[in-house]
Subunit: 760 residues, 2 copies
Amino acid sequence: MNQEYIISDPWSIIEEGFDAELVKSSESLFSIGNGAMGQRANFEEDYSGPTFQGSYIGGVYYPDKTRVGWWKNGYPEYFAKVLNAPNWIGIRVTINGEMLDLNHCEVTQFRRELNMKEGYYKRSFEATLQNGAKIAVESTRILHLEHDELGVINYTIKALQKDLEIEFCPYLDAGITNEDSNWDDQFWEILNVTAEEDRAFVHTRTMKTHFDVCTYMQSQLFVNGESLETMPKMETKEKNVRARYSVNIKEGASASLVKYAGYVVSLNHEPEALMDAARQVLDKGIALGYEALKTSQADAWERVWDMADIAIEGDVKAQQGIRFNIFQLNQTYSGKDARLNIGPKGFTGEKYGGSTYWDTEAYCIPFYMATKDQQVARNLLKYRFDQLDKAIENAEKLGFSNGAALYPMVTMNGEECHNEWEITFEEIHRNGAIAFAIFNYERYTGDTSYVPEMGLEVLIGIARFWHQRASFSTAKDQYVILGVTGPNEYENNVNNNWYTNYTAKWCIEYATKMLERVQNDHASDYERITAKTKLTSEEIEQWSKVASNMYFPFSDAHNVYLQQDGFLDKELVTVADLGKENRPINQKWSWDRILRSPYIKQADTLQGFYFFEDHFTKEELERHFDFYEPFTVHESSLSPCVHSIQAAMLGRMEQAYTFYLRTSRLDLDDYNKEVEEGLHITSMAGTWMSIVEGFGGMRVKDGMLHFSPQIPEQWTNYSFKINFRGSIVKVMIEREGTRFHLESGPAMDVYVNSERTTVN
Amino acid sequence: MNQEYIISDPWSIIEEGFDAELVKSSESLFSIGNGAMGQRANFEEDYSGPTFQGSYIGGVYYPDKTRVGWWKNGYPEYFAKVLNAPNWIGIRVTINGEMLDLNHCEVTQFRRELNMKEGYYKRSFEATLQNGAKIAVESTRILHLEHDELGVINYTIKALQKDLEIEFCPYLDAGITNEDSNWDDQFWEILNVTAEEDRAFVHTRTMKTHFDVCTYMQSQLFVNGESLETMPKMETKEKNVRARYSVNIKEGASASLVKYAGYVVSLNHEPEALMDAARQVLDKGIALGYEALKTSQADAWERVWDMADIAIEGDVKAQQGIRFNIFQLNQTYSGKDARLNIGPKGFTGEKYGGSTYWDTEAYCIPFYMATKDQQVARNLLKYRFDQLDKAIENAEKLGFSNGAALYPMVTMNGEECHNEWEITFEEIHRNGAIAFAIFNYERYTGDTSYVPEMGLEVLIGIARFWHQRASFSTAKDQYVILGVTGPNEYENNVNNNWYTNYTAKWCIEYATKMLERVQNDHASDYERITAKTKLTSEEIEQWSKVASNMYFPFSDAHNVYLQQDGFLDKELVTVADLGKENRPINQKWSWDRILRSPYIKQADTLQGFYFFEDHFTKEELERHFDFYEPFTVHESSLSPCVHSIQAAMLGRMEQAYTFYLRTSRLDLDDYNKEVEEGLHITSMAGTWMSIVEGFGGMRVKDGMLHFSPQIPEQWTNYSFKINFRGSIVKVMIEREGTRFHLESGPAMDVYVNSERTTVN
């Protein structure tokens, strides 16, 4: 563990005391979002200390020109980036003529709270300014889940000593930049900066992609809770606009500014109607008022928690960890909009630029399937279906043909926006996860309509890719897949990565099986799709040659599948025997040294055992776990969750618990020393899996739920709810046994440790 | 062949007719240099068409901040670059008030000639300006081999029709940039711009590296060859200085400006004495005058040619090709200064930034050994000895210890300045070439003093590196070398590249052998070196374990060593069966497709057979040549020469001749469609080898020269000279037989086709 400043609490993330060194970490940890937009926990008032400013809008991106040292053919020309959007939170505060800046004050009683239960972020502190003025500040911030174009800030200043002359200057500022800009390009064009009485609007447009965004605000001033109907002085400039509110208060009194602000975006409105849309949001927000909005926000979050919460008794750190994960996932993605997806940093940072990795399919979908309406998971699948043409184009750029599809490693709009050859071109296993998610969705939801409607075309494109990408080795008399990077990115350009070969074979077989089923059950869909894709039975036969004669590296000596050809030529020193001074190897070692070492960044062969658990015996899993885990450094956020699930499966609860803490508190405790850059959103879904699928042992077999529940010894009991095929079931796992409660929907049978029981 | 505009001529490179599309190519092909500096064939007068301006100074570089898309641990922070230096050639020409610019004139009779025999570059043309003025221009340019800080330009304008009012404005300009700058940094600081009567000086300093350079000029004006003693009007600005000379001439008369200009550099003078040094160069140059300088330049080149020329009868293209290669090598490197080396583009372009690759040891040293005093090759070896400490530091950065040395892939001052992980960290075979060059030098020159004086320490550092870099494979029960890139850069991060493993083993064995010899023959050196390096006999034993138990991938089926593990898993379609639409693959294919293909960029396994020819039988060579050459696309300039030599060795003269033409006319005929960027200087030494070692079959065995001469059927005969152990011998290879002429030094015995004959 690397930091311990977050105070344990079952429902809140709490920081106490002001430490400038922790500002950027806390800006990530206390981020708020509502699926449509998100905001790092930057201060409203000016701050001259180190800070990483970030406000992001779902689906609004900029294609930054690729920057590499040495160009390789096939690199995308542009790299889509999440965009730091105009600042809507800013409030310049002046006390007796001095600008409030915590970097130049004496600060006491500093406290942050991210109240996950009710969905607000509150910061409070007392400050003595250089001019001697003493104030207490409390600022509460909401990004409303339902009114998802609206943010509200209640910023209250109390005069602790003497009377105060206060000026609040809420502002909007489009003069912002991305920290990760490649060429210091301007990402935003500023079309219009306007003020109307006490309202202000900044109309901006992203360069190249032409997303129009109107950032707007209106504020209200209160003294001791009484509204002052003063009109501010509005000042518009080229890139920003501010409103000046002045007020004098007596010692002991307080002044509050409530700022209503946010974005309306051309994704949802006509560009020319944006200002009108903003006016409507303001009308509604102000009519409701701050208190009502705060209450309805709490109600909205209550509904989220009612379905998604995992309650753990007896272990507050574990409780806080899982709720933090669930909270952030819900802040990032609501599932309402099939154009959106789940970026690795959500709305909490810029790193990893694009929004969608294979993380969505491999880690996130199970969480959203079980805790939301199945339409949400279906939307995530549809996102890939909608981008199939682009995936086919992407494969064509790399020399494939005939409708072979290679989904991008990272994408915003279906185009590749990553540019390291060993990842972009070679980490092709992502195609496998996308096919697996279709299978997994159908297995879990029982919704057999997705495949004929959309999924089958995706499966055909993927099968075609694998068929073309595999090549025949005369030496082996089998099909091989050369030059790939598996999930373990600490190996590059290897031959016959077992995981990749295995998923390739599976993808072809699954596509073939689905083709047969659609042919039988949905003849008109079958006709439509085979006509569109020009698929023939001869081609399917060609596929099957590859799938049925795929090569898998195997070690007789160790009786395990090998991660790739040549793995056993490495010096097989386990992580336990590797001096601590070498860890983390991605910071301590040069890249070549990492590559030739046996160390594994994240589950690779074991990832395959996770996806295809029922293809292997428990003994096989155990053998592979015992062979690979000792070489695994878990330097990817996506690694501990899979290992936690498998350790639980093998009955190694202590190990499973350690992995659980590592995944659930990865950011809170900053294991990887990088939380400043943003949170690891996608791995948070893995945390959920490590409880539900790991400790709870939940599986779907033949359309039925199975559990094999265990409890870490640190816990008294735990419970969660799942939405399974129309039934909402609460699962309560206690030492005495597992209880179920049917909350809604039809009664159902479930298996607990292979014993059938009815939930009704 | 891709371009054919160069007119065949045995001694000159000639272009006739003006084609703006060819300007950048010709700027490369007609470059001039003198070992200390070099200049692309940019026009003296203004030119608004596409051009690539370049003037370079040996040893003067700038460490540009590395730019990569994704940082990898171990990358160097800076990337040293050859620097475009202040413009010394510029002469703005105004005719009747209109600035001369070939982009806006009617141009006829345009001709360029690079006279390689006498070492000058001449350009002539007739132009009709927009104002109707008609002129004939002849401009001759020299970079003097002996006065190597001095350049001279004679720029003559003849009035073809009507009287002319001419203004010449010779200038110096420090407002220049590098085309390949990473961050658009300024590379030069301008310290001083001064004019003194008709002289001008621009004192600049490179940022960071602090090389001081004084660029200077003085000009003289002539009408019809008579000197006009007019003083120009001098104009100094912030970054440049110009002199204005005005003259009126009658129709049929001519006016000439002779400009003396160049660089003096703090590598050779105290920075504060630079202007004085420039004055002295000017005093001397002007005292000698243009004609005398042109004559002494021709004399100096005569001396170079007397030793280095290869004369070919009956094939003017082949003749022109080899002379172009020899000329450029001598323009690039004179061997006078051990701080300098041979950059892949010499002084003809910026690409590949650094100056020194393994090219020097693998390709260039044989040429310089045979055509210059052995001190020149010794200086090239000493360059690496002088950088040994930096090579040890470089290895330490990558995790090696105990004095292990890894020479950089690319360097200026001993520090690595390359940043692609698969090359920088993995193309470690460069260490082998550096050791091989020591062996090769001693074998050729018989100079056994280099090893005890300097070479042994280099060999120890390199042996230590290989010992640490190899690792033990329990599975193979042998030592392996994982994660490398061999000479064939179309494979990255492979295991057990045969060439790398073979040279690693050889390096250790050679170092051990040299240690024994130095111990016996130079006891005090041995003591000094083992004390300094803390080398023990135990350590040497550890080395030998690696060398004696090294793994080499081998195919029983094909009876060949495999380029690397897994090579036979590829789809082994030969280049002949690869559609032309796929070539060159480095332009047509994405990087991953290249990597998983069997196609070889340049000799890899065969490079090992070239270095260690006497370790293998001719049958083995033939088998490997027949196996690998069919997969070789020769998309590296360094490939055809090795294949030409081996084809000749195998008696396949037609194939050898084809490879010869490809290497010797690579730039003249622009095979790789990139001559605009500069010439392929280092591969030019390979061209020399393909005649002397290929057709001539020259080898050194047991300290004696052996020849097995052959003549391509296109040739009548050919001859060359070599400097071998103090004897200068002319070798004349004719159909009737081979004749030798001892030009100087002791008589010696040589073998021709294994028959001994005495040269006296």
